[in-house]
């Protein structure tokens, strides 16, 4: 049986950022990819959504105070 990690209540939404979105994000923050927080390529959720090293994953978490909080991580080896 194959289960989707994303279906679990404790796993926040992970999605791969499109090329154009990546550019926009990096420009907005004024940083290079390397200055973003990292996530391992072997991380189960990264494998599930099929992100490759160099991709940026957008994580949308639920927050008690802000409803949603957005986080970005660079996929690394």
């Amino acid at each position: 049986m194959k289960v989707s990690l994303q279906d679990h209540v404790l796993v926040p939404k992970h999605e791969i950022l499109k090329e154009s979105e990546v550019e926009e994000l990096l420009k907005l923050l004024g940083v290079s990819k390397e200055q973003l927080p990292k996530i391992k390529a072997m991380d189960p959720i990264v494998k599930e959504i099929g992100a490759k090293p160099g991709d940026i994953v957008k994580i949308t978490r639920k927050s008690h105070t802000a409803e949603f909080s957005v986080f970005y991580r660079l996929v690394v080896e």
Binding site: L29, V31, Q35, L36, P37, R61, S63, T65, A66, S69, V70, F71, Y72
Partner: protein, 874 residues
């Protein structure tokens, strides 16, 4: 200059060749200075090692004192000695390798497996200490070398630097391994095997861990000081090096003279001792080397270690100028934003005045002044500092021109930073305005005690004077006391009324008390109010309303007894506070309204009218409270805890009854009739039931006492208003102290193995008395046995606080280290300062400043709704 990025730092062990290579000379004589006071050649103060006396020149580089940073020398040790710092590694190597062929006592495949594991952990940046321990454990058990087949003997390591080989474990026959033997064995270990011991053959050869040549640090590292008597006093390191050279030379002489083996061995031991204590003078197992005066010497390890060591003392912590420290004491008459500074300190500290065409006349006058806010120095445009004295002040005032700096003594209105350690949060350093006052203590308003966590039992505080206009502006804007009334810790006020402030306002506002015009004026004497309505009688609530800004709020006071259905405005306890448009209509003002941590009114004023208005309110509120309590009088005495005979009788009966029930419980337990509680053993059940029974008895006793003490009792007033103390404290004073406990259990241990707490009881006595129940009150006094139990319970509290403070202190150090380079940028992201790495995309995930939050929540929705609906009058 471009900053360079350090990618790695690698530590290696100095080889003997390296020590000789970097040495400028070999040192051979223990003498330091000759009769004329010149450094002896080949001695420890040899001028080739650098110079410290002005006038002399370094023989190596020609530099004068201050120019030449010094050069290393070396001592050729007559016999090898163990380096204490490496003794443990040496022990592992000796145990793990063959005594004949020097190979590791593992088959090659096994060895390679361990090496790969170490490499793996290294690449992950993790500790591989566990692997090394495993290698040690395995090799220790090997009896026969897997490479040459030689029998292995057990190696015994005796701290700090001795090694033995166990020849026959039966008769405990042991043979000492001299450092020379050790070194020969280490020489035989091949490079390929070293990796399995966690050593990098490129960085270290194991035989280098046994010293044959000792580097001697330059004299600049161990300068001698000239005492007032003109005598030279050498540095501790020099003393130790003298000892080493002396014994070293004696060893050589004796060996050349063909002295008996025993004498040579003794000298060798002595040499080992001196080298060991030179490296570390706090090694366990050997006595520390001492100075002639009996003081232990501070040698190499002692220079680095501990609080005053190089790392924590010199690199992380430095001393500062323009600061002062003294004992603090309270002054309720000054504002919370002020600090009282003793004249003596104000005359010592200075503030720079940067002279411009606009202020040059004022600056001249300050230079010419003869008393207190005088100028102490002028700094010329070229940077030269001149002390102002009576004879040169006219001349200096004349010469004064824009660009100069006049250093003026601290005076009223200057901004300073005030600090109390441990500085655990931002409110531990706040900016205050100076008030120069007589006497020798710093004075502060008691309302600012909570953020500093200060009291006046001898606490000392530090004061710093900002030395630039930028720093002064920053202090005034960002660090001022009123900017810290709300705490980022919990989004509520941390500065507010304490102790008598709370009691005073409670006395003023409770019920519908009326005060005469004279009384009202006296209450308000020191308070800053401009208009008082003309009346003959004032209620306390009216007087309090005079200092209240125009706020509207409703809340339950601290005195609220939590009735099942709150009658709100109609509370007959006057516990429901109603403030409308700055008028206190109903309710008692107490800790909940103006207290330092709860202070709902303070909170409300801060949100509505801002920092300055709140500061004024706190100043007025504390002064009003002090005015009231001074006029009405408020004391507590021993007879305040007196209870009538019938109350004492009732308490006595309650406790006797409970003790009887405890006896019954014990009886049931002994007869096996006690029903265990779910998930508990019978013993645990008994203990719990007894604790419950006695706890209830004390509560009941407290209730009885409370009934008779009444609401006009001073201690009761303080407890219910939240000013100080609790009803439990009162119970213990007036009725019954109750069960003493250690680690949450009744007292069980004591008096040897006889199963009783003290010898006054029969063994196995489980009764209330025998297990630390104190039926007396503090007022009635404890029996000797009760007193002993009370001390046992009290000690636990002391030990706990002692342990907790040290632990939280270390936790704080670690956390600051981890977080010190993080900053919230203007775009709301949290970034690491040097690398620009992003840590959070929005501070705290929601971008909320906890200080501006509503008690931790981002917004106070209720309040917004009320304001929108117009329920709160603006």
């Amino acid at each position: 200059m471009f900053p360079k990025k350090i990618s790695a730092i690698k530590f290696e062990v100095l080889s003997p060749q390296e020590v000789r290579r970097m040495s400028v000379t070999k040192l051979v004589t223990p003498e330091t200075y000759d009769d004329d006071g010149f450094p002896v050649e080949g001695g420890l103060m040899d001028t080739r090692l650098g110079v410290i006396d002005p006038g002399l020149k370094c023989k190596t580089c020609g530099g004068k004192a201050g120019e030449c940073s010094g050069h290393f020398g070396h001592i050729e040790l007559a016999a090898p000695v163990i380096h204490v710092g490496y003794a443990k590694i040496i022990a592992r190597l000796l145990t793990g390798t063959c005594r004949e062929c020097g190979r590791i006592l593992l088959k090659d495949e096994r060895r390679d497996k361990f090496i790969r594991e170490i490499e793996r952990l290294k690449s992950l940046g993790q500790s591989y200490e566990e692997v090394l321990k495993e290698v040690f454990r395995l090799t220790k058990a090997v009896k026969k070398c897997p490479h040459c087949g030689a029998e292995q003997l057990e190696i015994k390591f005796e701290k700090p630097t001795s090694f033995f080989e166990v020849i026959d474990p039966e008769v405990k026959e042991e043979e000492k391994l001299t450092p020379k033997d050790v070194r020969e064995r280490l020489e035989k270990i091949p490079n390929e095997d070293l990796l399995a011991f966690g050593l990098d053959p490129k960085a270290v050869r194991p035989e280098w861990l046994v010293l044959t040549v000792l580097p001697v640090p330059p004299v600049t590292v161990r300068p001698s000081i000239i005492l007032e008597t003109g005598q030279r006093s050498e540095d501790d390191l020099t003393h130790k090096l003298v000892d080493i050279i002396r014994i070293n030379q004696r060893f050589i002489e004796n060996r050349e003279a063909g002295a008996p083996q025993q004498i040579l061995e003794d000298l060798w031991e002595l040499l080992q001792y001196h080298v060991t204590t030179y490296l570390d003078n706090e090694v366990s197992g050997i006595p520390p080397a001492r100075h002639r005066s009996g003081r232990p010497l501070k040698t190499l390890a002692q220079r680095l270690k501990g609080k005053d060591g190089r790392f924590r003392g010199s690199l992380s912590g430095k001393r500062v100028n323009f600061s002062a420290r003294t004992v603090i004491s309270p002054d309720p008459c000054i504002s919370i934003s002020e600090v009282g500074v003793p004249e003596e300190i104000a005359r010592e500290l200075t503030v720079p005045i940067f002279v411009t065409p606009n202020n040059i006349e004022i600056a001249k006058q300050i230079i010419l002044r003869g008393e207190h806010p005088k100028a102490s120095y002028v700094v010329r445009a070229d940077g030269k500092k001149i002390r102002i004295i009576d004879t040169n002040k006219e001349e200096l005032a004349e010469k004064l021109e824009p660009g100069w700096i006049v250093e003026r003594e601290l005076t009223d209105g200057d901004i300073v930073l005030f600090n109390r350690q441990p500085s655990l949060h931002r409110m531990s350093i706040m900016a205050h305005y100076v008030r120069v006052l007589p006497y020798k203590t710093f004075r502060l308003n008691p309302a600012v005690c909570p953020p500093y966590n200060a009291d006046f039992d001898g606490d000392e505080m530090n004061l710093h004077v900002p030395q630039s206009l930028e720093a002064q502006a920053e202090a005034k804007m960002l660090m001022a006391v009123q900017e810290h009334i709300l705490s980022p810790r919990f989004g509520g006020p941390i500065i507010g009324g304490i102790h008598d402030h709370v009691t005073g306002l409670y006395l003023l506002t409770r019920g519908n008390k009326e005060f005469s015009k004279e009384e009202a004026l006296e209450f308000l004497r020191s308070v800053d109010v401009s208009e008082i309505p003309a009346k003959d009688k004032y209620t306390g609530k009216e007087i309090f309303s005079l200092i209240l800004p125009k706020i509207s709020i409703k809340f339950k006071a601290e005195v609220c007894q939590g009735c099942e259905v709150c009658k709100e405005e109609n509370c007959e306890n006057d516990a429901y506070v109603v403030v409308e448009n700055g008028q206190l209509l109903k309710g008692t003002i107490d800790e909940k309204a103006v207290g330092a941590f709860k202070g709902i009114i303070i909170d409300e004023i801060m949100r509505k009218f801002g920092a300055m208005a709140t500061k004024k309110f706190i100043d007025d509120m504390t002064k009003l409270a002090i005015g009231v309590i001074s006029r009405l009088g408020f004391t507590i005495g021993i007879d305040d805890e007196d209870i009538p005979r019938e109350a004492a009788q009732q308490i006595e009966e309650t406790i006797a009854e409970a003790e009887k029930r405890v006896e019954e419980l014990i009886k049931a337990y002994r007869e096996g009739n006690l029903e265990p509680m779910p998930g508990r053993s019978i013993e645990e059940t008994l203990e719990l039931r007894i604790m419950q029974e006695l706890g209830r008895a004390r509560d009941r006793a407290g209730k009885i006492a409370g009934r008779y003490l009444g609401m006009d009792n001073s201690a009761v007033i303080m407890a219910v208003s939240g000013a100080r103390g609790s009803m439990l404290n009162l119970t213990q004073m007036a009725a019954c102290i109750g069960q003493q406990s250690v680690r949450g259990e009744r007292l069980t241990r004591g008096y040897a193995y006889t199963h009783r707490t003290t010898s006054h009881f029969k063994p196995h006595d489980l009764g209330a008395k025998a297990r630390g129940f104190v039926r007396n009150s503090y007022k009635s006094g404890l029996s000797p046995i009760e007193f002993f139990f009370h001390a046992a319970g009290g000690r636990e509290g002391l030990v706990d606080t002692a342990v907790r403070t040290s632990q939280s202190g270390y936790l704080q150090r670690r956390m600051i280290n981890a977080l010190q380079d993080l900053k919230v940028e203007y775009d709301g992201t949290v970034r690491e300062q040097t690398s620009g790495v992003i840590v959070q995309f929005k501070y705290g995930e929601d971008g909320v400043d906890p200080r501006k939050s509503f008690r931790g929540k981002a917004v106070d929705v209720k309040r917004i709704i009320k304001e929108v609906l117009g329920e709160v009058k603006e």
